[in-house]
């Protein structure tokens, strides 16, 4: 079987993107009325649903600042093998704890003592970069829930294959098991919040991966920012409408 070519002679990737191009990102906020914050994020064919509940009362344990709980799961239909989807497997536990720790530091938890915030992440379709998609979706869901944050966290992945560094990996590029990095940064200060490197990389490649992933994060931020803005403007507009409606009555 001939080895699949990841980058064509023209420099295009398997899904037709250029190396430094992220996939089409669409996000919808506030889609679940029961939750305090929710986000449905699509990064190409990767679809993630994040919901945030809270801050709500913490029953069992007293603490001086709010605590965060996180649960990550992958739907059993998310990928080609049906075995996945268990909530308690080590991958999911590790992913959840990494996301929890990321947001522990960015949320202003001392503003809501003796309470907790619950994050639920469900991957509906896995086509690479699930970790970044989950982090981005949680950020937007947090904004939707109106929980105070120091900064927005944005995430993007980068990988190295066939002497090229590419950003925002898809599933085909991920399973090649080359050096790949998932990076999450603070949008305004550009400081590193979370980083996760898989497969070994030399120091030079690693440095390169960080630079490219950072660029990807900033691209991602532009898209996320504009969709948050659009959503907020819609909200304001609808409030005006209600206000005028009320006064007329």
């Amino acid at each position: 079987m001939p080895r699949e070519e990841l980058i064509s002679p023209d420099g295009l990737r398997t899904d037709g993107r250029r190396p430094l191009e992220i996939r089409k990102v669409t996000c919808r906020m506030g889609i679940l009325p029961r939750a305090d914050g929710s986000c449905h994020l699509e990064m190409g064919n990767t679809i993630v649903l994040a919901t945030v509940y809270g801050p709500r009362e913490l029953s069992s344990r007293q603490s001086s600042c709010g605590i965060i709980r996180c649960e990550y799961s992958m739907a059993s239909f998310a990928s080609t093998d049906r075995r996945r989807g268990k909530r308690s497997d080590r991958n999911s536990v590790e992913m959840a704890s990494s996301i929890k720790k990321t947001f522990e530091n960015v949320l202003l938890t001392d503003l809501f003592p003796k309470s907790r915030v619950d994050i639920f992440i469900q991957v509906l379709q896995a086509d690479g970069s699930e970790r970044s998609a989950a982090i981005n979706a949680v950020t937007i869901a947090m904004v939707n829930a109106g929980i105070p944050m120091k900064d927005l966290i944005v995430s993007c992945s980068a990988g190295y294959m066939e002497n090229t560094t590419v950003m925002d990996l898809n599933h085909v590029e991920m399973i090649t098991r080359g050096p790949q990095l998932t990076l999450a940064i603070y949008a305004s200060t550009e400081r590193m919040a979370t980083a996760h490197l898989e497969s070994k990389a030399s120091f030079e490649i690693f440095e390169n991966l960080i630079a490219i992933a950072k660029k990807g994060c900033l691209q991602m931020f532009d898209v996320m920012h504009s969709s948050i803005e659009r959503y907020s403007l819609n909200l304001i507009a609808s409030r005006d409408h209600i206000a005028t409606f009320g006064s007329r009555a």
């Binding site: 603490s63 400081r191 030399s202």
Partner: protein
């Protein structure tokens, strides 16, 4: 964050000391604790000390069926046991979360990290673990027990895993036609695993909102730190894993400085590990490598040399599991279904009725005098050991 049993005063002291450029235990900011490897008498067992942190690890090999999509590859699996005896904090964690040891977040993170640095980076050649493609392969299981949690358990666990994989040997196998013969440990010298490179994990603690990063945090420092940064590097100057799971944010430019610190530390540890391994071998060469002698007290029992080999392996396995049971408080399934009691039966058993285990489906043909140690056939049926008539 969990509530630490450390007082506020102690926390502040640790933090102020760090700000002053010296640490509570007298180290400098970029100075790691001493590491010590102590290999056991059994292959694959090692005790690693990192300062006061103490970790025990044992690696064993068993015969299993490969997966359908990778029929010619063996397995390397890890389990980390963070029992409450290791530290008070863990005790609290168990109480509050109600989790069991394997699903504890910290343990899951360590296992994931180990899988990443050893399995996914091909540190162990899994293709050499194949016996018969599609039928039988070796599964190497590394069980790590944290005995004393005095900070930076991740690094200690990684070093222990790497050390026990280096020290472990797997029995020699010969394949004749469809039959697979597994030779006993005193029949043929067992062979070491194929290790491509040695990834050494080096962790850093992040303090003061990301402004200060100190290598190898102790338990006192862990309670005041705001995040960790773990970098696994090998001697070829390759970064095998880089993990910063949340916590305080840091400047990306700082990372490269830390990566080079990690590289220096990794080379230091690698040299030490290789030296410790060499010392063990030279010591064992004098005091005989053979870990166990078989007592052939019963003359009536037709134990030929080959069968002796089998009993040695099995006895070792049984002893191993007994040792492990002593080491930890929680129950885990036994390595094989052979217990000490069964062992006795196995030895006492006369003539041709030998037990057939799940893992090493072993039987001996008594009429065949020259039969090697174990004849392992592809597993036909599932279920408990059956005696063969």
């Amino acid at each position: 964050m969990r509530d630490e049993p450390l007082s506020l005063l102690e926390k502040n002291f640790a933090l102020e000391a760090l700000q002053a450029g010296i640490r509570v235990d007298g180290r400098k900011i970029d100075e790691a604790r001493l590491v010590n490897f102590e290999f056991g008498s059994q292959y694959g067992t090692v005790t690693v000390r990192l300062g006061k942190t103490k970790v025990f690890s044992s690696a064993i090999a068993e015969v299993v069926e490969p997966t359908i999509d990778r029929p010619a590859e063996g397995f390397v699996t890890f389990s980390v046991d963070l029992s409450p005896m290791a530290s008070e904090n863990l005790m609290l964690e168990y109480l509050y979360s109600g989790r069991t040891s394997s699903t504890l977040e910290e343990a899951a993170e360590i296992v994931r990290f180990l899988q990443q640095i050893i399995r996914e980076n091909q540190a162990i050649d899994t293709e050499t673990l194949c016996i018969v493609a599609g039928v039988q392969v070796w599964a190497i299981r590394v069980d790590i027990h944290v005995l004393d949690h005095c900070g930076n358990v991740l690094d200690a666990c990684c070093m222990a895993a790497v050390a026990s994989l280096l020290h472990m040997r797997k029995p020699v196998v010969t394949v004749v036609g469809k039959d697979v013969f597994i030779h006993g440990i005193d029949e043929r010298e067992p062979v070491p695993l194929t290790v491509h490179h040695l990834p050494i994990s080096v962790s850093f603690g992040i303090f003061l909102d990301g402004d200060l990063i100190a290598i190898d945090p102790s338990i006192q420092e862990e309670s005041v730190m705001e995040g960790t940064l773990s970098i696994a590097v090998n001697a070829h100057k390759e970064i095998c894993a880089f993990r910063k799971a949340g916590g305080a944010s840091i400047e990306t430019s700082l990372i490269f400085k830390n990566a080079s610190y990690a590289y220096l530390r990794a080379t230091e540890v690698t040299v030490q590990l290789e030296k410790a391994l060499k010392d063990t071998y030279s010591r064992n060469a004098v005091a005989s490598v053979k870990p166990l002698q078989v007592e052939t007290t019963k003359k009536s029992f037709p134990l030929n040399e080959q069968v002796q080999g089998v009993t040695t392996v099995w006895k070792q396995v049984a002893k191993q599991s007994a040792l492990e049971d002593k080491e930890k408080t929680v129950d885990q399934p036994n390595i094989t279904s052979v217990t000490n009691a069964e062992m006795e039966i196995f030895i006492d058993d006369s003539e041709e009725s030998y037990t057939k285990s799940d893992e090493l489906s072993a039987s001996t043909d008594s009429d065949e005098e020259t039969a090697p140690a174990v004849i392992a056939r592809p597993r036909g049926g599932k279920g408990r050991p059956k005696s063969k008539k």
